[in-house]
Symmetry: C3
Subunit: 315 residues, 3 copies
Amino acid sequence: MEKVFSKSVTGIKNLSRENIDYILDLAAKLEPIINGESDAQPLKGKKLATFFYEPSTRTRMSFESAMIALGGGVISMSDAQRTSSVWKGETLKDTIKTIENYCDVIALRHFEAGAAEKADSYSGKSIINAGDGPNEHPTQTLLDLLTIKRRLGRLDNIHVVLCGDLKHTRSTNSITLALSKFKNVKLTMVRPQGFETSDWIKDILNKNNVEYAETEDLQAAINGEPDVLYMCRIQKERFDSEEDFNKIDGLYCLTRAMLEKVDKNIVILHHLPRVNELDESVDDYPGAAYFEQTYNGVLVRGALMTMLLNREHLV
Amino acid sequence: MEKVFSKSVTGIKNLSRENIDYILDLAAKLEPIINGESDAQPLKGKKLATFFYEPSTRTRMSFESAMIALGGGVISMSDAQRTSSVWKGETLKDTIKTIENYCDVIALRHFEAGAAEKADSYSGKSIINAGDGPNEHPTQTLLDLLTIKRRLGRLDNIHVVLCGDLKHTRSTNSITLALSKFKNVKLTMVRPQGFETSDWIKDILNKNNVEYAETEDLQAAINGEPDVLYMCRIQKERFDSEEDFNKIDGLYCLTRAMLEKVDKNIVILHHLPRVNELDESVDDYPGAAYFEQTYNGVLVRGALMTMLLNREHLV
Amino acid sequence: MEKVFSKSVTGIKNLSRENIDYILDLAAKLEPIINGESDAQPLKGKKLATFFYEPSTRTRMSFESAMIALGGGVISMSDAQRTSSVWKGETLKDTIKTIENYCDVIALRHFEAGAAEKADSYSGKSIINAGDGPNEHPTQTLLDLLTIKRRLGRLDNIHVVLCGDLKHTRSTNSITLALSKFKNVKLTMVRPQGFETSDWIKDILNKNNVEYAETEDLQAAINGEPDVLYMCRIQKERFDSEEDFNKIDGLYCLTRAMLEKVDKNIVILHHLPRVNELDESVDDYPGAAYFEQTYNGVLVRGALMTMLLNREHLV
């Protein structure tokens, strides 16, 4: 296990398997503090700025919850594009060179791919990518991984099915990249034609000798008894045309009945919020782990901040 | 006096007189802490999420002020319906099952009657109803009661006039229910025809043998020398038609001159903000207690959180 | 040096030179605390309410950062006019008489000149003017002054050029008033005809025997080798007509080339965000100090709160 020594975490692609192990291990150590069973305050005196160009209540509140639980403070801009008329037209560079004077770490959500890396290059403070357009969402992936690890006890030797719009979903991009770093991972991608995983990601899978298959048939993928099934919301905001969106919207919907066709208890993940691709009948299925994901999100976000601010010794 | 032993406070209707006494007593004990005269931090390490589907600066800031003053932390969603595009369409159940992983107690404002009770059933964490549509607003009522108790020294043996739209106002619903739990309370309802207190509330009053009268004449009610006069804002957002709203808007306006017709110093309450039903000439009237109500609101909200999180021993 | 003994800071015009020296000196003393190099918490137990009728992420986050760094807590209303439907129509008086029950100090941003002074007259708590329409923005000026003092080592005996819309910009109003309190200050105002510094400010300059000149030529002003050059954004929201705005928009743009024409290292200030009046080529110029201004803003806002809440002895 090895700590990330750069000052920021802008993408899963910059993290080694050893880095990921380090972060997940630290997340587990933070659990008693975050749950209030310990009085430790490893981030006391530290300040987080959540700076979100697009609103994302879930991710923002998760970061803020972690920082408060670890003893730090929070300043928040939850919807920079809409509620800040004055800022319209200010460059990302100027914004970051201002915000960095108010905090120790910035959780940045932006609508453009690459924004977090740019922000890191402008700033003397740590940046954590809280989603940059269609590109990456590394904290989502880290919480996905922590959930799988806690459910299965391992991240090597697993078979994962990804289902939905694999072309536009940054969560599946990031987790695909992450899984390619582990041993003997097998992937099955379920998606309609035209919504395939991007070629640059497939290139990495090929380079890392990750076995993967593509299909349009969700039930067939379930019948293959995977360890994990990751359902994705079709994100309308990522589509250029209504027509493209309609091609895929409602095409896949996981139900309890579909899962009952095999004996295996499959770990069901979803990046939430769900719309119509994950039926409520699944909620009581023993493998359903999507609300656990939100719980684990606080732990991994806390771990990232603790690591980047070099406060592991206070945990 | 008896503590509320359920994990949430969703309505006045679930509180006994003994519960109310307990909460008001605890509120008074918190006063030196909230005013910064004591270093106690009974809610240290605890996190409040204010989750408001409708904006309500007053109620939200009051909850947050109490939590901070008692040593805890706050994460906030001030306008979930408008500023969170992603969340649109997410069920209350999914939202609550997510948010509960970020905090210890949720102050929930929702536009639908019954939302707080539903949220309580979904969540393992404490819910405090911060207003659920036209239904209940229990923290408002508790602060009303604390204000009356501090002004009159009692909650039994009082005559209270309620004036305004008694059909649509949750604040008057809740205080009517609350007062029905005390001894020898007399109510006078001042409202135009068509805006009467709902029958289900009158049924409770009858069952509890509460004496009440209805009138359209505010001056006559004042001339009856009540102990308390509660003026209500006509809340346009509760009306289905502009026509109905216009029937009552501006019909009642309390002035200093109206109060001067009797010798008695009547305690004047209002749930604020006021529009045109409470003239500024009343502000210097000795009985005017509506800004005290906002002060007392911090105390009762702090008391509810302290009670539900079982931290009374740290007060 | 002399502390401000009134309970609020509503404008530079109420501050003496001795007051300003006191605040800037206190700001410097707070620096190690704000940077996390000291565990002191001079504002522990204190609560700031940032109440902004207009959004201003920069000023709001700066106040909040200072309060958190000094050990206090924050409650926030970032866009009262737009996100608070209920509050529409509530008077400033009622709002302030409510908010004051939730906090110890209010940072108030309002669209009307004089709002902060009015708020101070309504409230028993401290008010800090965070900008009142076209009138004053004293915390901006204090951070401007701190930046000049840190760069030049003095506030007396300086030549300052102000450039832009000197008619509508509150930041230049406030700093002009402030500089008039120091010794041997020379001002050069660069602006097109029709956008002159207001007469009431010129009257004060004349009364205080401040030497000033007016010109339309920015390069000529630079060639005069001033100590400081303050560039202003043309603020569209302050104009009554598009036509007036177009007369001045884009008229002035400071570039590195313009500064290279003289040998002197001029301190470049800007109230940020910039639009088109300050070219990015200036960012590496040694005198460029506009991001330092945002850093210094946290210090002076922390100093004001510490002073008004009488916690200097804990610094």
